[in-house]
């Protein structure tokens, strides 16, 4: 039945409806704890887009979510569910940090940055490689193995940050601060001519990289032979096998591309904001990527706005917590779960009603 829907309904209206339903339910929860949902929504919108500074933060979070959203989407196209974005981003951060720690006092940022991109992508890809090869060669379920690898990554990083990479025990588990050469420039200055003052917001060059990667992913998936094969595998593994495509190669490459994108996410917080490697810098962004990819229907043109929406939720949510102490930032986790539920698992819930409505007003033929 889904195929009968016009594209604008499938790609535009359906995700919108699922977000609205998620907001309405969250609004009921807000009402339940005795606050006004309308007031909360206004505060949140103001917190996300109310000033240049806030917009800067929103886009900073959005940068992270574009990377992780693209990572999940690429795997989706090959029929794989990569829940391991969280771990891949965490290990990607290790790659980024190792480059920064060794080059930061020797080279300027624009020499360090390309190496850091490669290292982040490589480490993320390698962390995705093991689950991928196990899925392709031995049939181990990739969902379970990537979940396990998230926990293994977390243990590994705690070990490294509290051990070999730690600067001093007083500062806790984190690396030393990077020198100039390990920090990428903020983008606030670019917006000043437009009359937007982003102040000290951490929006940085990796935002541009995220947009470029969205374009690259679009080209790979819809304009290359590899992308075509990947989508074939995702839609019908039997057809892919019959056409002589190598399932092992496709699964491994798709997962490594996915892991590389997740790994590049680390550039944003590690080089763009904190200028050091610290514990739990991913902060669940790998999982937000699932919601972003589902809402964006695995298309880069959908993922970028979805990531900005979630960036707004994260920034607006922390501002909201100041004004309404009753509503903590955990609200976002709830909204995120509801979006995943309605946009992902219950996607077909509203379809019959929409079809009836659209045929009723004559938009769709009977």
């Amino acid at each position: 039945m889904n195929n009968a829907l016009p594209r604008w309904v499938d790609y535009g209206l359906m995700p919108l409806i699922s977000v609205i339903v998620a907001f309405v339910i969250s609004g009921l929860v807000v009402l339940f704890v005795g606050e006004s949902p309308v007031q909360a929504a206004l505060l949140m919108a103001k917190g996300a887009f109310g000033s240049g500074y806030n917009i800067g933060f929103t886009l900073f979070y959005a940068t992270t979510f574009i990377f992780t959203g693209l990572a999940v989407a690429v795997a989706f196209h090959a029929g794989l569910f990569n829940i391991g974005g969280e771990g891949q981003a965490y290990v990607g951060g290790l790659g980024v940090a190792l480059v920064c720690l060794s080059l930061d006092s020797v080279f300027p940022w624009w020499i360090t940055f390309p190496f850091a991109i490669i290292a982040g992508a490589l480490f993320g890809a390698l962390w995705a490689f093991i689950p991928a090869i196990l899925q392709a060669k031995r049939g181990s379920h990739i969902v379970i193995t990537t979940i396990m690898f998230n926990f293994i990554a977390s243990a590994l990083m705690v070990y490294l940050l509290a051990g070999p990479l730690q600067k001093s025990a007083n500062l806790g588990p984190r690396s030393r601060d990077f020198a100039e050469g390990g920090q990428i420039p903020k983008l606030g200055g670019l917006f000043r001519p437009l009359g937007i003052d982003m102040g000290a917001s951490p929006l940085n060059v990796s935002f541009a990289l995220a947009l470029i990667m969205a374009l690259v992913v679009w080209i790979i998936i819809w304009r290359t032979r590899f992308g075509y094969e990947m989508r074939t595998l995702g839609i019908s593994p039997r057809a892919a096998r019959y056409a002589g495509m190598s399932e092992v190669r496709l699964v491994v490459l798709a997962m490594m591309l996915s892991g590389a994108l997740a790994g590049m996410m680390a550039l944003n917080p590690v080089m763009g904001d904190q200028a050091r490697l610290q514990l739990d810098f991913v902060e669940g962004a790998g999982f937000v990527g699932i919601a972003v990819a589902l809402m964006g229907r695995s298309h880069p043109a959908g993922i970028v706005p979805a990531a900005i929406l979630f960036g707004g939720l994260y920034q607006g949510g922390s501002e909201l917590a100041f004004d309404m102490p009753n509503i903590t930032r955990d609200m976002i986790v709830l909204i995120q779960g509801l979006v995943i539920l309605f946009a992902g698992a219950m996607g077909s819930l509203f379809t019959p009603a929409i079809v009836r409505l659209l045929t009723g007003v004559g938009v769709m033929p009977k």
Partner: protein, 320 residues
Amino acid sequence: METILQLLDLTVRSAVPLLLACLAGLYSERSGIVDIGLEGKMLGGAFAAAAAAAVTGSVWLGLLAGIFVSVLLALVHGFASITNKGNQIVSGVAINFIAAGAAALLGNAWFNQGGRTPQLQSEQRFNPIELPLAETLSSVPVLGPTYQQLISGHNLIAYFAFAMVPITWWVLFRTRFGLRLRAVGENPAAVDTAGISVSWARYRAVICCGILCGIAGAYLSIGVSAGFVKDMTAGRGFIALAALIFAKWRPVSAMWACLLFGFLGAIEIRYQGVALPVLGVVPVQLMQALPYILTVVLLAGFIGKAIPPRAGGVPYTKER
């Protein structure tokens, strides 16, 4: 002797929530509903149990509230994956976030303690039970202390969890309900042909899963701890999932797998930074990661092969 007993006692304590969640997953997955939302259901159950126990002052109402919330979440998962034929993995992920977000949000709004629930009094919790004659027999060598320290002195939920192992085996392999449950997980079309509702069988399995997850959550928040703390399940739902795979979806093996993972947890707590014979000082993080590493190795087929129920993860559509 003393140290070994303490270690084993700690093993049992760590294994109980894993065992309950693992058996919960067993019911669901044997019926063909893949459930990675065990973590969320446990967390929701833990929060509801502690909140209800704190407000009503009754440990039993707490337990009931925990079960109720967990079953509610299980039904959402059931609705998405059985009625709506949605993606079960996606739905499970959603359940985990909904539970984590709602528990922290409501906890903070209701009790104003940063997501914690108020400290529970002794009568609002499941307390350790002294089994009969434990004191009298403690002078008997070996068996006495074992009985007193290892077998006796756990709370009601712990005994319930271990009793559920043979009960689950009996239900699944010796009753009509169990036969149908396993059948819809292997070959739903055959069950449908026999005139039995696939959906209803799966819904019942999902409800069983919810009940056990709720009890597992209650064990954490009103059993071994005196209240709910944000994210208190700390990945136990996923370790239970790993144990389920490790046990190849069988109840008695599930108990051994949970005891093994519980033992790893106990060593991790007991021997932090202590040099072990032969191995030297093992990083605590390695011990933490070991259950996950073992599961990946198992999944890779290097130690036996884990074959899941055949219809797992596939929504059933009646042929027309």
